[in-house]
């Protein structure tokens, strides 16, 4: 089971990595992209409406393609806080109003986490 899972996840990650255009990563997701990458990362994390087994290989491929730390942290935070896969459950159990407020309230946290990671990258990890 573990071997099978590892192989299929790695296959997915490898294929995504070769398919992501380098120019796109450089312009929109790299360290140089700055806050643009953080915003795009947070929104990208939100639409990754899937479990960790599927989402993490995709995020790993984006990282391997040259995305910045700020972008990667905002994607993961966006996926955990804003992830639309949780939306039907939140709306069903607590109401659409709660889901909407929680979503709006969570967005600044994704930006802040990405920004902090970006600052760390340009100040400490360069």
């Amino acid at each position: 089971m573990v071997t099978q899972t590892t192989i299929i996840l790695s296959l997915l990650a490898g294929m995504i990595e070769v398919l992501i255009p380098a120019e796109f990563v450089q312009q929109w997701l790299s360290k140089e992209a700055g806050f643009k990458g953080i915003i795009l990362g947070s929104l990208g994390g939100m639409i990754l409406a899937m479990g960790p087994y599927a989402a993490f290989p995709i995020i790993a491929s984006i990282l391997a393609s040259g995305a910045g730390l700020g972008t990667i942290v905002s994607i993961i935070t966006g996926w955990t806080l804003l992830g639309l896969s949780k939306a039907p459950f939140e709306a069903a159990f607590f109401g659409a109003k709660f889901f909407t407020y929680k979503l709006i309230f969570s967005i600044p946290f994704c930006f802040a986490a990405g920004l902090l990671a970006h600052i760390l990258e340009i100040t400490i990890f360069t």
């Binding site: 996840l9 790695s10 986490a113």
Partner: protein, 184 residues
């Protein structure tokens, strides 16, 4: 087969086809080379992550978490409930019904918020997977950066909804607010 695994199989097949269309056999082989490297690097960590997930599920009982959530208040309650959220195993269809069961137990709203954000941000069973599938350093940095989020949200909820419980926050139209009244 679990739905999530089925999605991964289908996604992998689609990406192989796209790689073939875009770059022919060469691009597919490049992808396979990267896949083999990734597989050899992450296999052990992935095995460790499955063991951690299994252990958390065995060690923690719902009764234990139930007791934790109701025994503490204030900042201690916020931290404990955020940690309880992080330790609670399972998907939304498991943890949302669990936390919803506190609606009639007068659980403060801020404790509920800390639990929900703790589950989203901490989710300890996810950390080994993050480390094995993304990168251990990235996982560490991300978890350190986001560590205060459930505490901050809990404190904000306490500040603005100090005397509100889950029940009166989630009253539906037509509910009379009487805790003894069974709405179902």
């Amino acid at each position: 087969m679990k739905r999530s695994m089925l999605i991964i199989y289908i996604s992998a097949a689609i990406f192989i086809i796209i790689a073939y269309i875009v770059g022919g056999n060469d691009l597919v082989l490049d992808g396979l080379n990267i896949s083999m490297k990734t597989a050899s690097q992450s296999a052990l960590m992935l095995l460790a992550s499955f063991i951690v997930i299994g252990q958390i599920q065995v060690i923690l009982s719902k009764e234990m978490l139930d007791k934790w959530l109701q025994s503490f208040s204030g900042i201690k309650g916020i931290i404990i409930s955020a940690l309880a959220g992080g330790l609670f195993p399972g998907d939304p269809y498991i943890y949302y019904p669990f936390i919803l069961s506190f609606k009639e137990k007068e659980l403060p709203f801020y404790i509920f918020i800390s639990f929900v954000f703790g589950k989203h941000i901490y989710d300890f069973s996810r950390i080994p997977m993050e480390m094995s599938l993304i990168d251990p350093n990235i996982a560490l940095i991300k978890n350190l950066i986001t560590l205060p989020i459930p505490i901050i949200t809990g404190l904000l909820a306490q500040r603005f909804f100090a005397n509100r419980t889950m029940e009166n926050m989630f009253l539906k139209v037509g509910d009379d607010g009487d805790p003894n009244h069974n709405n179902s």
